[in-house]
């Protein structure tokens, strides 16, 4: 299972990469593999203010719906429309083209509560 070293991870299987105070959020390879064939995705609305751990997006596979939680608090500044028109991108490129949204972090300190790649690998038994 692919777990890139340069990302931070939430226990609920989201990843975040941070540059300055801008974070990019997606779901992990492990999450997409558990969900299997993803047929619907809905990123959060632009301007939405998210708390850490709040439901930010929904993805649905053929079989089940799954909430995506924001790893940290902030304001949504970009949403990836590509995954709305082509939800299967989440299966094929979870760490790349299938990012879900970008947000401006309101508290960089919250990043310390997230897992590094090593801790996340331990969590999923990879």
């Amino acid at each position: 299972m692919n777990v890139p070293d340069h990302l931070l991870y939430a226990p609920s299987h989201e990843w975040i990469s941070v540059e300055g105070d801008i974070g990019t959020v997606g779901i992990t390879d492990h999450a997409q593999s558990e969900l299997t064939d993803i047929v619907f995705a809905e990123p959060p609305a632009l301007g939405k203010i998210l708390a850490a751990g709040e439901v930010a997006a929904v993805v649905e596979s053929v079989k089940a719906a799954s909430d995506i939680y924001s790893p940290v608090a902030g304001e949504v500044i970009a949403r990836n429309e590509a995954i709305e028109s082509e939800p299967a991108l989440l299966n094929s490129d979870a760490f790349g083209a299938a990012w879900i949204y970008k947000l401006r972090l309101s508290d960089l300190g919250q990043l310390t509560a997230l897992k590094d790649a090593e801790a996340y690998r331990t969590q999923i038994g990879a």
Binding site: T36, D37, V39, F40, E42, V58, E60, S61, V62, K63, A65
Partner: protein
């Protein structure tokens, strides 16, 4: 509980889920891939969790006709028919297939979740001259389905697959291959003694059938508008409401539930099980989503899915008769948002040949 094929599923890295007390494969390679394998090529499902009842004796046909909706007496040797077991109020206890395997011998294949209930209900109404045996544990079953299933059949049995549906190839043998299915595709179901399950499964795979799980089984049957007992059929709805009148012979002598159905026919059928198709981009549908017409709550979905063949949300639901005609537009609510859907003719998926 596990079927005799559980280790085979594990060896194929199947995702296992609990289904009515059974640990069953929901998928191997993925639901979409397996769904498409059945629509375009051929797939094989483990359906060993389903129940097998053997009914024989002088009065077997008479007795079954007193319990089931379809006319058992009209079944020729080697033929199968879909039928329903009803309660006194005409509600559905189970839907099943009856196979005539001898002049006085019948095999019933029933839903896994209903084996004990069906057996208790039937045995509680036994008459002289009938032998009833629940041999569900002694039998396994495979469903081989898809346009190329005839090739698999020919390789397995060295004879062509019957071109008619509901035909049993060797009704007098210990295993039965019958041209039935739950996918809308050509195919057959292969009922074998439990000890023969593993070689039968491996033989089907060796003939090129893709292993398919319950996930694809559900999307395939829903595209056809085939009801699933426990979701679309229930003890509180009659087969007339479910649109299964074709399988109910009200002309034959009395059977359990008949008088209730006659009364319902007399007063009019107020609810109908319909097939729905979403008309705009929406999340996949699931069961228990509310259905509206304007501000009026009409009912809720009994089954729902993303249709792999159609690329849209599909569902089934009991709607008031006035809203159940083909072409009626309704709204289905998903997480507080409503999406336009239309009552469609079954099957929702039609083969373009």
């Amino acid at each position: 509980m596990r079927t005799p094929l559980f280790a085979e599923h594990q060896a194929l890295n199947a995702r296992i889920v609990e289904f009515s007390g059974w640990e069953m494969p929901v998928h191997y390679s993925g639901i979409l891939h397996e769904h498409n394998a059945v629509r375009r090529d051929v797939g094989v499902f483990d359906i060993s969790h389903m129940g097998e009842f053997f009914v024989s004796g002088e009065n077997a046909s008479l007795w079954l006709d007193s319990l089931l909706t379809n006319r058992v007496a009209s079944l020729g040797l080697g033929e199968a028919q879909y039928s329903l077991l009803l309660n006194e109020k005409g509600g559905v206890i189970d839907d099943l297939i009856v196979y005539r395997i001898g002049a006085k011998d019948f095999l019933l294949v029933v839903n896994a979740a209903k084996i004990e209930e069906d057996a208790a209900w039937m045995c509680g109404r036994s008459i002289a001259g009938v032998d009833f045996q629940n041999r569900s544990d002694a039998y396994a079953a495979l469903a081989v389905q898809g346009p190329n299933s005839a090739r698999v059949f020919a390789e397995l049995f060295s004879e062509p697959m019957p071109t008619s549906r509901n035909v049993i190839t060797r009704p007098d043998a210990t295993s039965f291959a019958v041209t039935t299915g739950y996918t809308g595709e050509l195919g057959f179901e292969w009922i074998v003694p439990a000890v023969e399950a593993v070689p039968a499964w491996r033989a089907a795979l060796a003939c090129g059938a893709a292993p398919c799980g319950l996930g694809a089984r559900d999307t395939l049957r829903l595209e056809m508008g085939y009801p699933l007992n426990g979701s679309d059929l229930s003890p509180t709805h009659t087969p007339l409401e479910a649109g299964l009148g074709f399988f109910v012979d009200l002309q034959k002598a009395d059977f359990v539930g008949r008088s209730a159905l006659m009364a319902q026919k007399e007063t009019g059928i107020t609810l109908r099980l319909v097939a729905l198709c979403v008309e705009e981009k929406s999340p996949p549908l699931r069961s228990h989503y509310p259905i509206f017409s304007g501000t009026t709550l009409l009912g809720e979905t009994t089954s729902g899915a993303h249709s792999p063949s159609l690329g849209v949300g599909i569902a089934m639901a009991y709607l008031p008769a006035a809203s159940a005609t083909v072409g009626t537009t309704v709204e289905i609510e998903v997480r507080g948002r409503r999406f336009r859907a239309c009552v469609r003719k079954k099957p929702l998926y039609q083969k373009t040949s």
